[in-house]
């Protein structure tokens, strides 16, 4: 048990290495498409990792996480439209607005539990969706084209595919590292304790909801960052980014990879988006295959892919 060399850790290391070396592969083979695809995967992996923080570790089943993708994206898009192109302004605003939204939504939603929590987070995200649809100055339903990516001076060229990919990857690894530190910290212990038994945690002296709320805000802020990356990646932001099906997809990515496992959401996102890409080449009804696959994982592999690997490595 003490040994760190097991099937799961080897695969995690290989995946991390693969992600790091991907641009080299892309350059050698001249396959630009794979770099574009994986930029998208890495961004969604960050969003899924942030969702896993509240869903897997905090036990908060948020069904409105795509809202932060939209909020982070619109912060970048709207500021760019209004002539503020500096990333040093755009990105902090994206994070701050996401945090603020999470604070308000969290303070209201965390009064409820279980199904009600799921429904209320969904409802708020749909509200955000309709508000974005109503922003006629910024394209309304049609969305908003971002003509210039965030400008970080000479620091990084956002239009350079490789540089942008590595920026996204740094955000992902940084985010996962942050979450890893956090779940092992005092704060993380409390959050996981509350997931396990809220009444017990109150009885020994923890104000459970205060810790839940802070966790909710941190998660939303990280996802807001993913939103800012996503808007830069697609040069476009529209209400569809925060439609409820997107929130559902994020949940599926987390469940695929393994709720409450640190690297699970990254693996889950890779598998989900690769499958979507591959299957949609064969049939437009790719969801017909994805659905039963999800069922199988939920029924027979609690803990997702990471859970399976964990069982393998224990023999």
């Amino acid at each position: 048990m003490k040994s760190h060399i097991n099937a799961r850790n080897v695969i995690v290391a290989l995946v991390a290495l693969g992600l790091a070396l991907l641009p080299a592969y892309s350059a050698l083979t001249g396959n630009i498409f794979i770099l574009t695809l994986f930029t998208r995967i890495v961004i969604f992996a960050l969003a899924a990792a942030s969702l896993n923080l509240i869903m897997g570790y905090g036990g908060m089943m948020s069904f409105g996480h795509a809202a932060y993708l939209g909020i982070g994206g619109y912060a970048v898009g709207i500021l760019a439209y209004e002539g503020i192109g500096s990333g040093f302004i755009q990105w902090p605003v994206a994070l701050a607005v996401s945090a603020l939204y999470a604070l308000v939504i969290g303070a209201l939603s965390l009064r409820t539990r279980g199904v009600y929590f799921i429904m209320i987070t969904l409802a708020f995200a749909q509200m955000a969706y309709y508000i974005a649809s109503g922003l006629s100055r910024y394209g309304g339903d049609d969305g908003l084209t971002i003509y210039k990516r965030s400008n970080f001076g000479g620091l990084i060229d956002m239009s350079n595919r490789v540089q942008f990919y590595y920026l996204c990857l740094a955000c992902l690894f940084g985010g996962v590292y942050l979450i890893w530190r956090m779940i092992n910290s005092r704060f993380g212990m409390v959050v996981q304790g509350v997931r396990s038994n809220e009444q017990r945690m109150q009885a020994i002296g923890f104000h459970a909801n205060r810790y839940r709320l802070v966790c909710f805000v941190i998660s939303g802020t990280i996802c807001g960052l993913a939103g800012a990356l996503l808007a830069n990646n697609t040069d476009f932001i529209s209400p569809a980014t925060m439609y409820w099906t997107r929130s559902g997809e994020l949940m599926v990515m987390v469940v695929f990879g393994g709720m409450g496992s640190l690297f699970g959401p990254v693996i889950g996102t890779i598998v989900f988006l690769l499958l979507e890409e591959l299957l949609s080449q064969f049939t437009e009804y790719w969801a017909l295959i994805m659905g039963p696959l999800l069922l199988l994982i939920v029924l027979f592999a609690r803990g997702g892919i990471m859970g399976l690997l964990g069982r393998l490595s224990r023999g």
Binding site: R186, M189, Y211, V214
Partner: protein, 259 residues
Amino acid sequence: MVDSLADPLLRVESLVRRFGGIKATDNLSLDVLPGELHAIIGPNGAGKTTLISQLTGQLMPNSGAIHFAGRDVTWLPSYQRSRLGLARSFQITCLLPDFTAADNVALAAQAHDGHSFRFWGAARKERHLRDAAQAALARVGLAKRADVLVSELSHGEQRELELAVALATKPQLLLLDEPMAGLGVTESARMVALLKELRKEVTIVLVEHDMEAVFALADRITVLVYGRVIASGDPEAIRNNEEVKRAYLGEQHAVTRHG
């Protein structure tokens, strides 16, 4: 050990809690003196757990007042009462099942060691929290089971862990809700021996069905029937109280024999 001249550590005044038409707590008053072990007994449905839940703040009364250590805590939420030194164990084991025994106790110590908005350092590597946990586990005889998941502990061990968790909050007053529930004979005897040790250090309110244990341990006993106090006094007085005998009828035998 019992200082009857001292101010009570816990004072309950005219507490009322209704559930629909039923008064589960009916104008109940009670004093717990510092240093004593105060047992609360009563037939099933007498409102013992309802009372404990109001004392710890899981349940709010309809009227009345609860004073603890000179403060009015009637409307304080449970986490704040815990900070003041009021700890409870649960009748139905209430632990963190997917954590180890040591984690359960260390979290209790952590709750009383400043705030927990610390996001970076590894909590499991904080020496003083781990040491506090180990000490509390050793007190209840679980030192060797520290790294076992709670869900893999036996029922008896979980009862002991409940106690260790409560102790780790460094309480002034320990509210024990049927610590002997579901224990075998030897486990019960161990628990009684443990409580005999603990009572030297901390004031205890003990709700318990096991009459033998109650009469062996208690300085004073309060008898509840239908949410009301029908008698309160030392074990001798309770044993000879006619009203208590009537209330217990079926259990009267147990009261007299084990006294």
